[in-house]
Amino acid sequence: MAQELNKHNAEKIQGPDAIPVQLTINGKAQAFQLEPRVTLLDALRNHSTQTGAKEVCDRATCGACTVLLDGVPVYACMLLAIEAQGREITTVEGLAPDGKLTKVQEEFIACDGLQCGYCTPGFVLTVSALLAKNPKPSETDVRKACSGNLCRCGSYPRVVEAALKAAGVATASKCEVLTNV
């Protein structure tokens, strides 16, 4: 009976008007009223206060909207907010909740791994997820992991350097990094 009831409720048609949506953003449960068409990116930026994830291409191409879903980088622009319910959503704001920057963030600053900075939250999250999974990555590992993040300023060599330094992996000089591109 309970199973039947669950099934019945699970197949309930929701929307197109706003429906209650519960999201766990940076460890905090938040309640929203969202139409099913609202993407996670839209929910974060325009229905919550977490503007760290950026909207650029809005087509799963640039990586500026990258957030972590249960620790895994995904594009928030191509995920419906209702489908992120029950998952741990981490935005760049969640990396340093007390204002103390992480090692990755510090190395992005030290290595000057950005110019305009619009892609930076995405890169920082992608690199943070990589180091959580693979604490001593090679340069190739970093490049592969970052292949879904674009930087139109072209800061890639310094992003790679920042990632490797944050991992405590010896890096080649900047010139050598550039010739390996």
């Binding site: 197949e11 048609i13 929701q14 068409r37 990258t66 995904v74 419906l80 209702i82 292949s147």
Partner: protein
């Protein structure tokens, strides 16, 4: 995006019932949401099929083959070391890490055309029901060099190419029962019909892909050439499977991607390779046969030599 209703289906039967005439199935959503943001697709309802039983699992079939649930992500597939090498290589080339984390096996197979005239919301090209294929006399760099209809949009699913040579079958929920389609059958309609992306009928849902049990000595290989080394569509892709016994090709199958509306294969080329020595001359002979009927357009003649090189490399990989 146009507003829509959303519902979580629990069984294939209810999913097929819920989709109606105006609905679409939602899995990873990478392709579908892209179409919806361009108003190319304006479904009134999305039926989430990610909770259908066993569709997120990779399991063994009773015959010793693999059953890949349609909702297995591309990342999960790429990390499954006991699958045939060609399939893992094809999965690893799909999109970016962020895309592979959510995109699914079923979605990869069922994704729609990437032709930029099709994806341009202000145009109604032949594939969208208009009267003109703008690519034929336009910017056709990424389009097909083989086609059986006036549309020259190529199939872009990496997995379809690898699965073709592995003799895989798609398990499709059709009219309240499971039917099995070979990869050739799954795409056959796209060869003849400019409006078709594949042979799926309204309401059809891919539930799984089944790969026959691996045979000792049979290897597979997938290679693609793209403009970028990562996170790019294939300009041309090629997969081969088969064995090399005492230096001779046995039971080899070869297929090309991104050159035709279907994973392009030629039985005559497979037959030609049977018993031939595994060397460049045999591979080139097969490539010449396959490419003899290619009809490149103004900007995509470069695909022919790339296809030739990839046919040669994938075939020679079978001996490695």
């Amino acid at each position: 995006m146009k507003a829509f209703e959303y519902v979580n289906a629990q069984t294939p039967e209810s999913a097929a019932g819920l989709i109606g005439t105006e609905g679409r199935y939602l899995a990873g959503g990478i392709d579908l949401l892209g179409e919806m943001k361009e108003y190319i697709a304006t479904p009134a309802r999305l039926v989430n099929v990610k909770n259908l039983p066993t569709t997120r699992e990779i399991s063994k079939t009773p015959e010793g083959g693999f059953r890949l649930g349609a909702n297995v992500t591309i990342a999960e597939l790429a990390a499954q070391a006991d699958l045939p090498a060609g399939l893992i290589e094809a999965a690893a080339e799909v999109g970016s890490p962020q895309i592979r984390a959510v995109a699914t096996v079923g979605g990869n197979l069922a994704q729609h055309s990437r032709c930029w005239y099709y994806r341009q919301r202000d145009l109604t090209c032949l594939k969208r029901g208009g009267s003109t294929c703008y690519a034929r006399d336009g910017e056709n760099k990424y389009n097909a060099i083989f086609t059986g209809n006036p549309c020259i949009s190529p199939v872009v699913s990496n997995l379809a190419v690898a699965l073709t040579v592995l003799s895989a079958q798609a398990v499709v929920w059709r009219k309240s029962k499971e039917v099995r389609l070979t990869m050739a059958e799954l795409y056959a309609d796209a060869w003849n019909n400019p409006l078709a992306q594949n042979s799926l009928q309204p309401g059809d849902l891919i539930l799984a892909v089944e790969i026959p049990a691996p045979v000792a000595g049979v290897r597979s290989s997938y290679l693609q050439v793209s403009e970028k080394s990562d996170f790019d569509w294939a300009l041309v892709s090629c997969a081969a499977a088969g064995s090399v016994n005492e230096g001779k090709f046995r039971g080899v199958k070869i297929a090309l991607g991104a050159v035709a509306p279907v994973p392009f294969q030629m039985e005559e080329a497979n037959a030609l390779l049977e018993g031939k020595p595994c060397n460049e001359a045999s591979a080139n002979a097969a490539a010449s046969l396959i490419l003899a009927t290619a009809t490149p357009f103004s900007h995509n003649g470069y695909k022919v030599p790339i296809a030739r090189a990839l046919i040669r490399r994938t075939l020679l990989n079978l001996a490695k």
